[in-house]
């Protein structure tokens, strides 16, 4: 029997790094902190690779399928005999895949940050937070139960908060970090309610029991709870709300673009490759429940994903801040993954969407991290985020240019780059299940190619901008991660995911369907061609088009006014029209009422106290009149 207890170190190493760098980071030279962090993550990365190799190729399969293994487990909190919270390591195809993704990207980002963050105040704090994030994210994916997942889910949120607000003197960064925390916290309330419904009905938190075909979650789904939907459906919808918050799905997406205020390596790690796909991972983790007990909830996943991918792609075409373009692009791509899960069935070829979603998650991590790190190199060189202040950079940044181009081709879905394969599977899955969503995704594929190459041409081609000082290529410590990720973006597509990561653990056969692939490549090329015409040389075409679209363009440029809408609800309605009046109500009505009671008491006692005047005549008078009154009363009753 192969033991997997060492896997706990994959998670613990980053945690130890966090403590080390957090407490003693200021004792080292900055670069030493960076090297310690990078080495630690490299160790985690090697361990993950070893785990993957063991898991996929050494451990015997049961009935041809990959099994779920518990690598390590302790009971942390015992509520009752059955209901207890464990902390442990669950290994199955998706968690092992996520280990690879997280440790790879995290390692690259650590390495890159040594160059990128050089000379910044709080260098060691940055690495401590990066390690904390890696710890939390790894703990999330290996969670054996939904409670553990929730714990790490929140820790991930907090480390994201700390990293977005890394430049804590910058007001926009601080505001963005708070916004991200609160919006995701709002979503997490849904997640928590979902967990509560789930655990109250099934009396367990454990993933293996929950997703077991004979387990309590899959056996009971029929009972109607509310509004014609079953208990399981409601719980899965609430759980998805948590996932939608983390993954920036519409309408909880508003925090992600602002989160770009954080340092760029953070955007690459957290807001492109790992944390934002946690929502997809969550749905994939609970997938058997969704597909068997809660198909209506899965429908919601599909439509939310589909709509977000279109919505974000449209906005991405209009933005000028390169990081924001990439942020919207991330939203759009995650929408793809959600949609793929949403249209998937369970088992064999039915589960194509599931496989495609995981596949896309995997490939996307490479090329999106690459895009962000490339954007970091560009920003590093020209000290601006705005693409209209850039142009002609291909001469100055040859490595960045080449790798960026590879990433653009990958995300646009041009063969043989990685994105082509995974996106093709998603389109095939959508085609089989839902033609409307399939059509939407086709359009999005075109838009993706267009906005990516709009970005590419505006930055590297287009008009020559006069720079204050000549931009120069980033140091090797930054370009090596770019090159490695570029290699990943080229080759990751050839991994046979259908043999490794499937909905039921069994491999299945799939081929590239030319009837899907050819039109999708065609539409991607069309997007690229249009972008080339518009942006390769400086032209007036983009402005003309923007004018032609008029109100629609303006709306997209302003992100369809969702920030303003939310601000209106929170600031205007909740702050000014609820909070302030209630505070007034409390001061004047509730407290006033209580004061009124005391005022009346005072008045009454004022009146009463005259009776005790100390004057004998008055007492005598009261006494006599009282006696007479009593006598009269007696006589009156007696005579009746």
């Amino acid at each position: 029997m192969i033991t997997f207890s060492y896997t706990v170190f994959i998670v613990l190493i980053p945690f130890i790094l966090f403590l080390l760098l957090g407490f003693f980071g200021n004792k080292f030279k900055p670069v030493v902190s960076g090297i310690i962090g990078t080495t630690g993550l490299f160790t985690s990365f090697l361990l993950s690779c070893y785990t993957a190799w063991q898991y996929f190729f050494v451990v015997p399969k049961v009935g041809g399928a990959f099994v779920k293994l518990i690598g390590y487990n302790i009971t942390w909190l015992r509520f009752t005999e059955n209901l207890h919270v464990d902390l442990g390591v669950l290994l199955d195809p998706i968690s092992v895949m996520m280990l690879i993704v997280i440790t790879t990207v995290s390692f690259m980002v650590h390495l890159y940050s040594i160059g990128y963050m050089k000379g910044e105040k709080g260098f060691e704090r940055f690495f401590a937070f990066l390690s904390l994030f890696s710890f939390a994210m790894l703990g999330l994916v290996i969670a054996t139960n939904i409670f553990q997942m929730y714990i790490f889910w929140e820790l991930v949120g907090v480390s994201s908060y700390l990293l977005i607000g890394f430049y804590y003197e910058k007001d926009t960064a601080v505001a963005a970090s708070k916004k991200a925390f609160i919006v995701t916290r709002f979503a997490d309330l849904g997640f928590l309610i979902g967990i509560l419904i789930l655990s109250v009905t099934t009396k367990t938190f454990d993933f293996i029991t929950l997703t077991d075909p004979k387990g309590p979650a899959l056996m009971q789904g029929g009972s109607i709870l509310f509004m014609g939907l079953s208990t399981m459906t409601w719980s899965m919808i609430f759980v998805f709300m948590g996932g939608a918050g983390k993954s920036a799905m519409f309408p909880l997406h508003i925090w992600l673009p602002d989160a770009m205020e954080g340092p760029t390596p953070v955007s690459a790690l957290i807001h492109a490759a790992t944390m934002v796909v946690a929502g997809v991972f969550l749905v994939a983790r609970m997938f058997p429940i969704y597909v068997i007990s809660a198909p209506a909830a899965l429908e919601v996943v599909a439509y939310v994903g589909g709509f977000t991918s279109l919505f974000a792609a449209v906005i991405a075409c209009t933005q000028f801040d390169i990081k924001r373009v990439l942020a919207y692009s991330t939203m759009s791509q995650i929408g793809y993954m959600m949609l793929a899960l949403g249209v998937s069935g369970y088992g064999g070829h039915e589960g194509l969407g599931y496989m495609a979603s995981m596949f896309h998650l995997f490939t996307h991590a490479f090329f999106k991290a690459l895009l962000f790190l490339g954007a970091g190199a560009i920003i590093h060189a020209v000290h601006s985020n705005y693409m209209n202040e850039m142009g002609g950079l291909r001469k100055y940044l040859p490595i960045t240019h080449a790798t960026f181009l590879i990433a653009c081709l990958a995300i646009a879905g041009i063969p043989p780059f990685a994105g082509f394969f995974s996106k093709d599977e998603i389109l095939a899955a959508a085609f089989e299940h839902n033609k409307i969503l399939w059509a939407v995704e086709y359009a999005v594929a075109g838009l993706t190619a267009f906005y990516m190459f709009r970005l590419y041409f505006s930055v590297f081609w287009g008009k020559e901008v006069h720079y204050h000082h000549t931009p120069h290529e980033a140091p090797l410590v930054m370009t090596i991660p770019l090159m490695l990720l570029a290699a990943g973006s080229i080759f990751a597509g050839f991994i046979p995911f259908q043999n490794l990561v499937t909905s039921d653990g069994l491999p299945f056969v799939k081929e590239i369907e030319l009837s899907i692939a050819i039109p999708s490549v065609f539409i991607a090329l069309l997007g690229i061609v249009i972008a080339t015409i518009f942006y390769r040389k400086e032209t007036t075409l983009p402005e003309k088009l923007a004018k032609g679209l008029g109100g629609f363009y303006r709306a997209a440029f302003h992100k369809f006014y969702f920030d303003e809408l939310y601000l209106f609800i929170t600031k205007k309605i909740i702050f000014n029209h609820i909070s302030t009046p209630i505070a007034w109500f409390d001061r004047h009505i509730v407290d006033g009422g209580m004061n009124g009671v005391s005022f009346v008491t005072n008045q009454v006692s004022d009146k009463i106290k005259r009776f005790q005047s100390g004057q004998l005549q008055q007492y005598a008078w009261v006494f006599v009149s009282g006696a007479i009154a009593l006598a009269l009363a007696f006589i009156y009753y007696w005579t009746l």
Binding site: W76, L77, R78, F79, Y150, I151, F152, E154, L155, V158, G165, Y168, E169, K170, D171, V174, A175, K178, F181, I182, R185, F186, D188, L189, L192, I193, L196, I197, S199, V200, I574, F575, I578, S579, T580, I582, A583, D586, V590, D591, M594, S598
Partner: protein, 482 residues
């Protein structure tokens, strides 16, 4: 015996302090006494056997004809609260060192007198003794606020006094009535009170009389209006005593008296109490969103958080009750931590107004880190103490009624909003002229904050120990309600 020593030791200490004249010596002596007391409480923990119920008992026949045998003892809940009290008081004393109070001997003597009263309340196994200590706690609290408080202290402490006094009278009435309903020979002993034979109607009256007393102390909406003013106007130490420990008396009273005695009406009227508590959560949270005075903001947040505890108690589920006990401890630790931080800021900046602050983290990174950790405890981040209690409470509420649970759950968002807003505006961003000269934590301040942070993480990471202590006692109480 130990219980008796625990109660009397601070009282003796406070008498000794009255003869002191040198303020430095008085402070150190007060701190020493409170630390010894904490040591005694830890010794109590060491003697305590988790599986048994009421322990470390002590009986004194005082006025036998009235049935007043003074019985003291501790079960798991009492012990936890005694530990909380004895843990917090040294911190409160230490944080008061920084202030130059007039008549320090009186100030510290009153704190120790309060400690006696608190421990008496938590250990009394007799209704009338409970009542006496309950009232005893009020007197020093009132003096501390009225003598060392802010500008508007007289009016506000008067209100505070009247409010709590009205509640106390209701409780006294209920206790006396109960006394005559206990089996012969009448007794105030808690076992007799639990055995009182009451009609439904009588139970309703006693329920509301107790509830009024406890709800004012906690405070539960709509009996809360004394609280924000009193917390704001009290000196820092007084606020910590009131919020960290004194309000736990009310929650403890609910568990110890109201649930087992009025068990028959909980089904009907417990729901009403719960709705008041949950309404208070939303009400107080919404008001907290708008506050500019940090102390007042924390005061409102406290109303919201104790509202959740109160609501959880009335579910009568073991999970929510465990959550309530853990959350009592956590709330005490967290809120004292917050008030220590606010006191540090106020003493340096001479203001508590969020709008006048900003950028403090620049000059005081360790203060910012400590503040952040305590804040995360308050917003109930997993791995901090706040999470355990809040999760258990919500879990219990959810089993009881999912709509109430959903509404109560909004607290986790509201808390994040107003707490992070405060942190952002006060600590982060660019520094202004006022905050430019902010210096980081001194040694003494670090010493006061470190135990708080350790407890936040300890309870958050290893709650099992605390839950085990409380569990048998909770099961005992719940037995009476079935």
């Amino acid at each position: 015996m130990l219980t008796g020593i625990l109660i009397l030791f601070p009282l003796l200490g406070s008498l000794v302090l009255l003869f002191g004249r040198d303020s430095g010596k008085i402070r150190r002596l007060a701190l020493g006494i409170s630390l010894v007391e904490f040591g005694l409480a830890l010794y109590g923990l060491y003697l305590f056997v988790t599986t048994c119920h009421c322990q470390l008992q002590m009986e004194i026949n005082w006025a036998n004809s009235l049935g007043v045998t003074l019985r003291f003892g501790m079960d798991g809940i009492s012990l936890l609260l005694v530990l909380l009290t004895t843990f917090l008081i040294p911190l409160i004393i230490l944080s008061s060192f920084r202030h130059e109070y007039r008549n320090p001997y009186a100030f510290y003597a009153l704190i120790l007198l309060m400690e006696t009263a608190f421990i008496g309340v938590f250990c009394a196994m007799n209704g009338i003794v409970f009542y006496v200590f309950w009232e005893l706690a009020l007197i020093p609290a009132w003096f501390i606020c009225a003598v060392w408080g802010g500008n508007d202290r007289i009016r506000i402490t008067f209100k505070f006094f009247i409010y709590t006094f009205v509640g106390s009278l209701a409780m006294l009435g209920a206790l006396v009535y109960l006394y005559y309903r206990t089996p012969m020979p009448h007794s105030f002993d808690i076992r007799f009170l639990y055995g009182a034979i009451l009609s439904y109607k009588e139970q309703v009256w006693i329920f509301w009389a107790f509830f009024l007393a406890f709800a004012i102390k906690i405070p539960v909406f709509p009996f809360h209006t004394w609280q924000p003013d009193t917390y704001t106007e009290s000196p820092a130490g007084g606020t910590m005593l009131l919020s960290g420990i004194m309000l736990k008396m009310g929650i403890y009273g609910l568990i110890r008296f109201l649930l087992p005695i009025c068990y028959g009406v909980l089904k009907d009227w417990g729901m009403v109490a719960m709705i008041m508590a949950v309404a208070g959560i939303i009400y107080a949270s919404v008001i907290a969103l708008r506050q500019n005075d940090m102390k007042r903001l924390v005061a409102w947040s406290s109303i919201a958080h104790v509202g959740l505890i109160t609501a959880g108690i009335f579910t009568l589920t073991i999970k929510a009750m465990e959550g309530a006990v853990i959350q009592m401890i956590s709330h005490g630790i967290n809120i004292v931590g917050l008030f220590i931080i606010l006191d540090i800021i106020e003493r340096r900046m001479k203001t508590r107004k969020i709008s006048e602050l900003g950028g403090i983290a620049n000059g005081a990174p360790w203060l910012a880190v400590s503040f952040m950790i305590i804040l995360l405890g308050v917003v109930a981040l997993p791995s901090t103490n706040g999470f355990i209690g809040e999760f258990l409470l919500l879990f219990g509420l959810f089993e009881y009624n999912y709509i109430i649970a959903g509404i109560a759950g909004l607290t986790i968002i509201f808390t994040a909003i107003y707490m992070l807003r405060m942190f952002q505006r006060a600590m982060l961003g660019e520094k202004n002229e006022l905050t430019a000269a902010f210096t980081d934590l001194t040694m003494a301040e670090t010493i006061t904050l470190v135990p708080v942070i350790i407890m936040i993480l300890w309870i958050g990471l290893f709650p099992g120990f605390f839950l085990q202590l409380a569990e048998p006692a909770i099961k005992d109480i719940l037995m009476f309600t079935r």
